[in-house]
Amino acid sequence: MRLKSSLLLLPLLLAYTCVAADDNPKLSRVYVSFEGASSATVVPGKPSEVELRFRVKDGYHINSNKPKSELLIPTTLKLEPPSDLASEGVMYPPGKDLSFPFDPSEKLNVYSDEFTVRAKLSADKKASPGNFTVHGQLNYQACSDNACFPPKNVPLQFDVKVARASTGHHGTPQSPHIR
């Protein structure tokens, strides 16, 4: 009976604990979500691109990677591939030139709604074939029509398949019509 009572109290007490521990709305607000990555297969010696999709919460925008002012914080992606993989560069989409009610005379270069960042990955020649997980984070500063919010980052991870490197012994190409 006592055990049952304790178990009944548990959810309430845990809820209280969670509320007490996470009482800072500044930290808990999220303006950008990671929506997933395209499937990527990397062959050693042949870099491959992966597309990473993000969504900006309705009513907000974030600076593009090349905002029009040096004062603005650009959106950047940092990847931490495992030791057998390497990041060969990140390609950001162009932002949209938009003006906002707080200053209709100035256009800012921003991402809103959905945007896709491409990353080029390569595999070490000694990499074993298989699946690897790449971790990273997107750093951004979000603003609404009348306020800006502290810079934040959205953590992300995606899988990359490393395929066996071709041996280089290619025979005579076979016609697709021959069966």
Binding site: R2, L3, S6, A21, K26, L71, F102, Q141, S144, A147
Partner: protein, 180 residues
């Protein structure tokens, strides 16, 4: 017996979690008084704090007691703040003689040199302080600009979250100065 032991363990774990949460919450450095939110701040005493200005001199909010204070939380990368700042410059000139003191708290990671450069470019003619998150948290600041209007006795007469019109700012300044 086993059931009692299980119950004790469950309760002990929960109490430990609660204590952890409570300790974590109470260890967050905050200026005096409970945290405010702009929407519920009217009539409450403005929490006092001490921050350094851009010359490194310590300034307390209570140093301005006897004056009406417009306390503005802002940041150099904030577009709406750049719209508001020229208005604040004008309003400081307009109402200085009547006892208005505008205090801008820069919640900015870029350092005092960058804030100073920005302030010079914008012609900011009022007190600028180097903010700390604890002060922003005490005032419930989750975005910029966030503006509090404090009367001569240190009571909050109004607060705005985000950019509002120049006319609304001026009306709130008049409320803080008790002029119509």
């Amino acid at each position: 017996m086993k059931r009692n032991l299980a119950a004790i363990i469950v309760v002990a774990v929960v109490v430990a979690l609660m204590l952890f949460a409570g300790v974590r919450s109470s260890h967050r450095p905050r200026p005096s008084g409970p945290a405010l939110t702009p929407s519920e701040a009217r009539g409450k005493e403005a929490p006092d704090f001490a921050l350094k200005d851009l010359q490194g001199k310590q300034v307390r909010l209570s140093d301005f007691r006897g004056k009406a204070v417009l306390l503005d939380f802002w940041e150099t990368t904030c577009g709406p703040c750049k719209v508001e700042i020229p208005w604040l410059v004008e309003l400081q000139n307009q109402y200085r003689a009547q006892g208005l003191e505008i205090v801008g708290v820069a919640l900015d990671d870029s350092g005092p040199a960058n804030i100073q450069k920005f302030a010079k470019e914008m012609g900011m003619n009022y007190t600028i302080l180097q903010g700390r998150d604890a002060v922003g948290d005490a005032y419930g600041v989750i975005g910029w600009p966030t503006t509090y209007f404090i009367d001569r006795s240190g009571k909050i007469v109004d607060a705005d979250e985000g950019l509002v019109s120049r006319a609304e700012i001026e009306n709130n300044i008049k409320k803080a100065l008790s002029i119509s």
